[in-house]
């Protein structure tokens, strides 16, 4: 994707000195000041203070009562059974959901870039779920899967009377994965389509003339040229491993009002008690800001290691054209 490409270009050119008179250069610093302050206060500051916080018993309010506790939070985090449970649930969603979340949009993109009648209509329909905000997506899926009033159970009941599946309580993770796939497919499809469309037609035609069949053309010409996009998708999803938080909180609670409601204070069914839910719970319910950060950094370190591994594999399968200088 263009962000990664631009970063690579910028990294390569970083050494070259730009000699500019101050009366011109000052405008640059002036123009980026709002962003710069924002970056320091809202990104860099929080990251650094978050690292410090994780070594304290900070409760979010009393700076006076704050004490350094060394690695105590980290030791506790490693022994925290609920955190491990949340981590396992995250891994489950990742192992089941991530491959589907990459393959399904890719297939959609391949189909949607074929020359067919009504292409525009199909593209629009495939994208529409991605437009909906999370709260709307959750309502839509509760309507589908609600134990008592959902369409799926209603349909099952019509086919085989008496069927009753507790989707939102017993299969909550499955519902969450389906919801995620439904809501995110359009987005990823757009990236893949952009990648597929940027494959030069001459190359594909050349392959066909050389006697390649459609599959060979796809496998040996199209696919390698799209690997940078697949790589980008993979990196982004690995980097964001375990960030599921709002979906399970909103999906908690049924339409009929049984059980606890949905929202930030909700406790989702045990299957949907993901790592971030646990972190959120520790921080904003028990006011253990320091401990919450220790948990966060452990997860982030894990995601970072995985991301580096993915980067390490890149040279075996990601195809980069020689960039023109």
């Amino acid at each position: 994707m263009s962000v990664i490409r631009d970063m690579r270009v910028a990294l390569r050119e970083r050494g070259s000195k730009e000699r500019v008179p101050w009366r011109k250069a000052k405008w640059f610093y002036l123009f980026i000041t709002p962003w710069m302050i924002g970056f320091l206060v809202f990104t860099l500051g929080p990251v650094l203070s978050g690292i410090l916080m994780s070594f304290t018993n900070f409760d979010g309010m009393n700076f006076d009562a704050m004490r350094f506790v060394g690695f105590h939070n980290y030791v506790e985090a490693v022994k925290d059974e609920q955190a491990w449970w949340g981590f396992k649930r995250v891994m489950y969603v990742t192992v089941v959901g991530m491959p589907l979340g990459m393959v399904i949009p890719f297939i959609a993109a391949v189909l949607l870039t074929r020359q067919i009648r009504g292409q525009g209509v199909f593209r629009t329909l495939f994208y529409i779920p991605s437009i909906l905000p999370i709260t709307a997506v959750v309502w839509v899926w509760k309507l589908m899967m609600d134990n008592n009033y959902g369409l799926v159970n209603a349909a099952l009941d019509a086919i085989k009377p008496g069927t009753y599946v507790r989707w939102l309580t017993e299969y909550s993770t499955l519902v969450l994965i389906m919801m995620g796939l439904w809501g995110a497919t359009g987005q990823a499809t757009v990236y893949y389509m952009a990648g597929l469309q940027s494959v030069p037609k001459e190359l594909e035609d050349a392959a066909l003339i050389d006697g390649a069949n459609a599959w060979q053309k796809f496998r040996f010409v199209t696919l390698p040229l799209v690997t940078p996009v697949i790589f980008y998708q993979l990196v982004m999803s690995v980097l964001n491993i375990g960030q599921i938080l709002v979906q399970p909180l909103l999906l908690a609670g049924s339409i009929g009002g049984a059980g606890q409601g949905s929202g930030l204070g909700a406790i989702p069914p045990r299957d949907n008690y993901f790592f971030m839910v646990h972190v959120f719970n520790r921080v904003f319910t028990y006011f253990r800001f320091g401990y919450g950060f220790a948990l966060l950094w452990l997860l982030f370190a894990f995601a970072l290691i995985l991301t580096l591994i993915v980067f390490g594999t890149a040279r075996y399968w990601v195809f980069y054209e020689v960039e023109q200088e």
Binding site: D6, A10, V41, L111, F122, I134, D205, G263
Partner: protein, 299 residues
């Protein structure tokens, strides 16, 4: 492409009529199969939304009836009126629009300036800062929101609209990147001419670049507005019930009437009203939105 291929075959003397007839038949079958798959797939994607629309037109009694009643006897358009009258939708939507406008204006101002600087003004450290800016996109928002929450509560601006103003001013990396890409494509002569005329960089930006960036401005504004409109997490975290926005209301349980009874289908109608502006915006500027998404690699 097929015809080009046939032409190549004809030129190379390898064209065989029987084979090309088969080929056409096969192409027809493929088209049919492709359509069948896409239609089935589109239906699966659209059923949940269609079901939302249908359900929003039922009475609550129809909604909870057993055996299930798939379609309403009479379409309850009244639900949509009740969204406004009973559920006070406009109060909540008004707050969201207020927040979103404030965020959008400050966000565009900040991002267009920074994007212009990164694209057009040379200065020491520009590239390093550019890399830092792009890397900031990789930091998960949950990591930054907790300390921000502490800052806001120290500043005593939790449960005010100030955080959105400040977030807007701080800009956002994907949008800065979008502006930067757009401004980088402008011809150098434009700047040189302005410099000869004695324009300051700010005037060059304000009077020459910005008026020619309407499409990016529109997309950025749309993204910013959409973000606030659809964002549940930050609003629920920082605002309380007396400042509740639409996203917050729809993230909780159903609306209630003054007696505390749940109004489920009215809430569903509210969800429909909530998503209509987004769908309209998408239809109006589909091309630019997709372009913007692809360029930034972000929503």
């Amino acid at each position: 492409m097929i015809s080009a291929l046939n032409k190549v075959r004809a030129l190379s003397g390898r064209s065989r009529p029987s084979r090309s007839k088969n080929y056409r038949l096969w192409a027809g079958v493929k088209q049919f199969l492709l359509h069948a798959v896409l239609i089935a797939w589109a239906i699966v994607l659209m059923v949940p939304i269609a079901w939302l629309l249908v359900s929003s037109l039922k009475t609550d009694a129809e909604f909870i009836s057993y055996p299930p009643q798939f379609f309403p006897k009479i379409l309850q358009w009244k639900n949509y009126a009740d969204v406004i009258v009973v559920a006070k939708f406009l109060t909540y939507a008004g707050r969201t629009v207020y927040l979103a406008t404030m965020f959008t204006v400050t966000n565009i101002a900040s991002c267009s300036l920074a994007g212009y600087a990164f694209a057009r003004i040379k200065a020491p450290g520009r590239k390093a800062l550019f890399i830092i800016m792009l890397s900031a996109m990789m930091v998960p928002s949950i990591v930054t929101i907790i300390p921000q929450f502490v800052i806001y509560s120290r500043m005593k601006i939790v449960n005010t609209y100030w955080p959105w103003f400040l977030w807007g001013l701080a800009g956002s990396a994907p949008q800065i990147f979008l502006f930067r890409q757009f401004f980088a494509a402008f011809p150098v002569e434009l700047e040189d001419a302005a410099a000869v005329d004695g324009c300051s960089p700010f005037r060059t930006f304000w009077q020459i670049f910005l008026p020619n960036a309407k499409s990016v401005l529109a997309v950025t504004a749309l993204f910013a507005f959409q973000w606030v409109w659809g964002d549940y997490f930050n609003q629920a975290l920082l605002l309380t019930e007396d400042r509740a926005t639409v996203a917050m209301k729809l993230g909780g349980s159903a609306f209630t009437d003054p007696h505390g009874n749940r109004l489920v289908t009215v809430t569903l109608a509210a969800v429909v009203i909530y998503i209509i502006p987004l769908i309209i915006a998408y239809f109006v500027s589909q091309k630019q939105i997709v372009q913007g998404i692809v360029t930034t690699g972000m929503k």
